[in-house]
Amino acid sequence: MSLLSVRDLTVKFAMREQTVTALNGISFDLAKGERLGIVGESGAGKSITGFALMNLLSRPGFIDHGQIMFEGEDVVTMNDRQLRGMRGNRMAMIFQDPMVTLNPVLTIGQQMIETLMAHRKLSREEARQIAIVKLREVYIPSPEERLEQYPHELSGGMRQRIIIAIALLLDPQLIIADEPTTALDVTIQADIMELLLELCQSNQVGLILITHDLGVVSQMTERTLVMYAGRIIEAGRTREIINDPQHPYTQGLINALPQQTLPGQRLKQIPGNMPSLTNIPPGCPFNPRCEYATDLCRSRIPEISHYGEVEVACHEVQRLQSNDARREVKA
């Protein structure tokens, strides 16, 4: 049985004039201990997916319909009490910017201990001991002293470690990490990712890693979802997607990586921008930026379907593949 099974998850935002759809029928599964990457440009709906899984969307966003089966229970239909019991306990989240994630007026200790005491019947002292153990696990030096400190006394990297420790406090089954290193120094980014990978592997914790960094995804995850304008357009094993992307958008993303171009050469960009949610073109949402777009692409939304090892939502996959084959023959 899978740990998490999302079916047809649709999130909408009730704006003043209209209701816009931010997530459009997302479906995917996650096995116990599996690590999944969600990639895409800003505005693709990655973070919204993360918050929706926790049922933590703030107004005006709401889950319109769909199912999020987590350990056999549907997160969408849980009441507030059940949600509180799940959040931070069985499913935890790591936020983007550690500088603003911790409450500035509470000590690290208060913020860790309250989390433990919200979910388990523990004395303050027992909770403190668990907090110290978890801080050691994320390699925080002299954890006893850290508990007495306020967030502003610690560096960004240190704070993100503490946030990871908070996420791990109750030994959750799933951690959702929403761009956990975007706000950090490049030198610290790799450390944090390594730490996260190590902890997830050793504790058999499932991970959903939301990022725009394909390099990170290839190191960290076993499977990957590529999102565009609120839809999943390609899904499969990370290795397949990185080495042999099927969807023109994914191909564009990978070709845009600096490793794909020679020094001095211009990076290959995908022309244009992601459409805003209020102005999604008819048909395949990617068609205005796609060099292979046909009339069919401009009129009908492609269904996601199995194609070899991966799932792709593109009308032209077959033609693209035969092109590839021809190119290979020529070469």
Partner: protein, 326 residues
């Protein structure tokens, strides 16, 4: 901590210096002190002689230094009307005013926090809309009008509360008389306190509401939700503590301002405090008393602000008083 205190005390001294210069400058320009002292039936020569004796012909600087020197020893001149040291007159009236300000402050703290938090958490309910609507009305109506309307409704029409004076007061220590120890004293202080609070209360409700709404949007509140913390703890610990930081700063200044607002409230309710006394002193051109009032009020302002800054440092961990100014 010590260095910070010293710094604050120096700032306070500088402010007091400016206030004393302004107060003294007023003294020299409000009528002729001699007329107040001797009346009309004294010859011009005697007047000149008296002026010399009193030092009124000395330069501004000399006169100011004499004034400041006396002020430092607690001598702010003698009231023309009461024929008593001006400071004594004011100190006798001070408890009444401070108790009124205290009453208003209690009302403001007691009501603005729950109402501000409620309207921030549930902005769309009918009750929230009513509170916000009333707060606009409260800000717009001047204090003296609110006071008169309150007297009309609650004293004249319903007869629930007395309309003037302090009622039964109890001597606590020295000349301090308090309203808070008798039922009659309580009845007398309620209306004036509400009248005095009528402008600041809506201001604070709105301030707390907008700060709280901003804090509730913050990442750390979202993170607290993601940790599974109960809403009550999120609202009243995580959010409220951050909300109150800017409110404390504004609040300190406003308490000082309220001392000044008492002039109107005390006049309407015939409250025997400093504000009422000040208005009478102005009518009688009792210059030493006017100047002494300005200096005492300035002093109260400086002291409350300093205390509030220290409290702020204690509440906000990012301000480290121990290391500040060092």
């Amino acid at each position: 901590m010590f260095a910070y205190l010293v710094k604050r005390v120096f700032q306070a001294i500088a402010v007091m210096f400016v206030i004393s210069v302004i107060g003294f400058a007023i003294q020299g320009n409000l009528g002729d002190p001699l007329r107040e002292l001797v009346g009309q039936s004294v010859s011009e020569e005697t007047r000149q002689q008296l002026r010399d004796e009193l030092g009124l012909n000395d330069s501004f600087m000399t006169q100011y230094l004499r004034f400041a020197g006396n002020a430092l020893q607690g001598d702010l001149g003698t009231s023309y009307f009461f024929k008593e040291p001006a400071l004594d007159v004011i100190l006798k009236k001070l408890p009444a005013t401070l108790e009124l300000v205290m009453g208003a402050t209690l009302i403001i703290i007691g009501l603005s926090v729950p109402l501000g938090v409620y309207t921030a958490i549930k902005p769309d309910t009918v009750l929230s809309r009513i509170i916000m609507g009333l707060s606009i009305v409260g800000i717009s109506i001047p204090v003296f009008l609110t006071a008169i309307m309150m007297i009309f409704v609650f004293s004249v029409h319903y007869g629930w509360f007395p309309s003037f004076g302090r009622g039964d007061v109890v001597h606590v220590w020295g000349y301090w008389e308090t309203n808070f120890l008798t039922a009659d004293g309580w009845m007398h202080i309620i209306l004036p306190s509400f009248a005095l609070a009528s402008i600041m209360l809506p201001l604070f409700i709105r301030l707390i509401r907008s700060e709280m709404m901003e804090v509730l949007q913050s990442e750390y509140v979202k993170f607290a939700r993601a940790k599974g913390i109960s809403p009550r703890r999120i609202y009243f610990l995580h959010a409220l503590k951050n909300t109150l930081l800017p409110v404390i700063t504004v609040g300190g200044v406003q308490i000082g301002t309220m001392v000044a607002y008492t002039i109107l409230t005390e006049t309407v309710f015939q409250w025997p405090g400093m504000g009422f006394m000040f208005l009478e002193a102005v009518n009688r051109v009792d210059t030493p008393l006017i100047v002494a009032y300005l200096i005492v009020v300035g002093f109260i302002f400086v002291v409350t602000n300093t205390i509030v800054d220290l409290i702020y440092g204690l509440v906000n961990p990012t301000v480290n008083i121990a290391r500040m100014g060092a």
